[in-house]
Amino acid sequence: MNDDDLRLLVRDSLSERAEDLPAATPSWDRVRGGLVGVRRERRRRQALAAGALALLVAVGVVGVQSSSLTALRRADPANPDGLRVAGDPAFGRTTVGSLGRDDAFLAGVRREVLARGTFVVETLQPGTGAGDLTVAFAGDVGDVRLVLVEAPTRSGPDGDIDTFLWFSAPRGASATAVVAGEVSSEAAGATTQIWRPAPGGPATAGGTGAYVVLSRIPGSVVRTATGPTYDAGGRQPWSVRTVPAASDHHWEVAVPWSDRFVSPMWTSGPEGTSWSALDPPFTDGTGTGLLDGAEPALHSDRPARDAAIESAFAAAQTASGVPVARSTRRLLWTGSAGVFSTSVVAVTVPGGAHVVTAVREQLEGDNVLPVSRSTVVLPAGPLDRVAMAWALGPPDEDGTTGLAALGPVGATTMTVTDDRGRTSSETLIYEYADASVVNPVTVEFTDLTGATLARVPVTALEAGVAPPTG
């Protein structure tokens, strides 16, 4: 297949997928609600309580026969190989969960939902009756009582849709209290629903949270990975296990906050299964910010106070999985060239290891747009001994790569060795330098006397957190 044929095929494939995607314009109210939702979600993330990364949950899909995302999103719960009939409940009419057979409770939930009528930005369609509401899940998991209701809601002038409403309250709460409590909404249509734990939420009050997955995609798998983030050697001793299904289409896991966790985002496409995680808690509930009390850069004494540096800290904190209160942060180096800003920061986790992240960003007015990011995890040791070399972008056609390096305090020269053993040297300023090098492999840092202080491999572009293993 020649280049032209291949590119034509790629173009056709992309066009076909784009056309297949049902991307109907929502009503303005819904979009505006979504913008509010983005802010709400961000606040929710920021409110996550302190703790060490300990539980990572992955939801994988295997054995899906269809390669069409559209078909997956429309899969009939009763007949996964066919198309879902509009109006059918996504997860069938049977309620799963520990309260699935508590008819009085379920009737109470329906009654309270009808009485309330409006949830976040959703309003029930006029004429909705109890029979139109499907309670897909109801149960106590951990210290949380969760209820998932699929309800017909109004979507403004563009038509009506079904909406999933998640209600949460403390374990044992009455139907009235549950429906009056926290609610989050999500458009129905997909064949998966996930309740992600919110350790700071009032429903948990620091107790045991809940992680619940409902999926009608055949062969769905839920796995958890638990363990401390990094030990002193910078290793991640993950413990991975498969969560047994609680029914033919749901899984539930109680999450002890003492263990802490990062929960996944569901990816329902047939392309692959992935480990993924919510942002880690950035605050400990006391308002501690990422830049609060941050010392100037270790290598240049430049102050740690702009948005780009905060963004770098956020990236490193995310990679560490450890909240602000249980880690320490230090700006190692920062500088700007034109519209590009580069910052190297370290987050030191309780085990003593350093999660070092180098972020390059483009400043555009008040905006900070990410360009590249690389992270390495280094064993415990003094921060002034940290050394890192990383690619700033993909290599050009001849292998020329933008390379940046930060050496230990006292380093004055970096010597880059390429894949053919050739070397080139650059003078460091504040122990930092960047250069364009063909296929760089390692970087050696030396001081004024020529003594070697460190030798490190070049970290690939956008290197990130290693996946759980085991």
């Binding site: 995607l21 979009v31 979600e41 995310t318 007015g365 972008g393």
Partner: protein, 180 residues
Amino acid sequence: MSADESQFRDFVLHRWPQLVRYAYLLTGDATQAEDLVQVALERSWRHWGRIRSDNPEAYVRTAVARGAISRFRARSRRVAEAPFDDVVADRRSATPDGAQARAERDAVWRQLAVLPPRMRAVVVLRLWEDLTVEETARVLGCSTGTVKSTLSRATDRLRASADLRELAGVRAADDTEVTR
């Protein structure tokens, strides 16, 4: 509703489907696509007064593309990706007569899904959006040389995929059969 909000509303309602499809091709995930667009729109609204008279769509598309390739996802961070081994079926037995082209497009889509985000973004911007090398470089914040080399590597990877090679073999065999 203020004049600004009215103008922003018109922009959003008019461009929503295209933006979501664009984000979908960049991410391969419809849910992430909507999230990306929402975040990009929120950012745009904050700066609407400045960008409205310039080229707001370019601004939003840049934000979406940067968001797609960055690890600063709106709702989550992807820690690692694993290939979707078990979905691979026998393409020939699953392909009805005359559906060869569709099977090839499916195979391409699967291969695109496992490209690194930046590489995938270059493919989408250059081959679907029809941006020039310079425009693609501007959107992604990299050099034109990087765009060229990334696209070259992406096409190499696509061409090298076992699925596509297999399908090309089937097509060649079919062509031979027809010739006879």
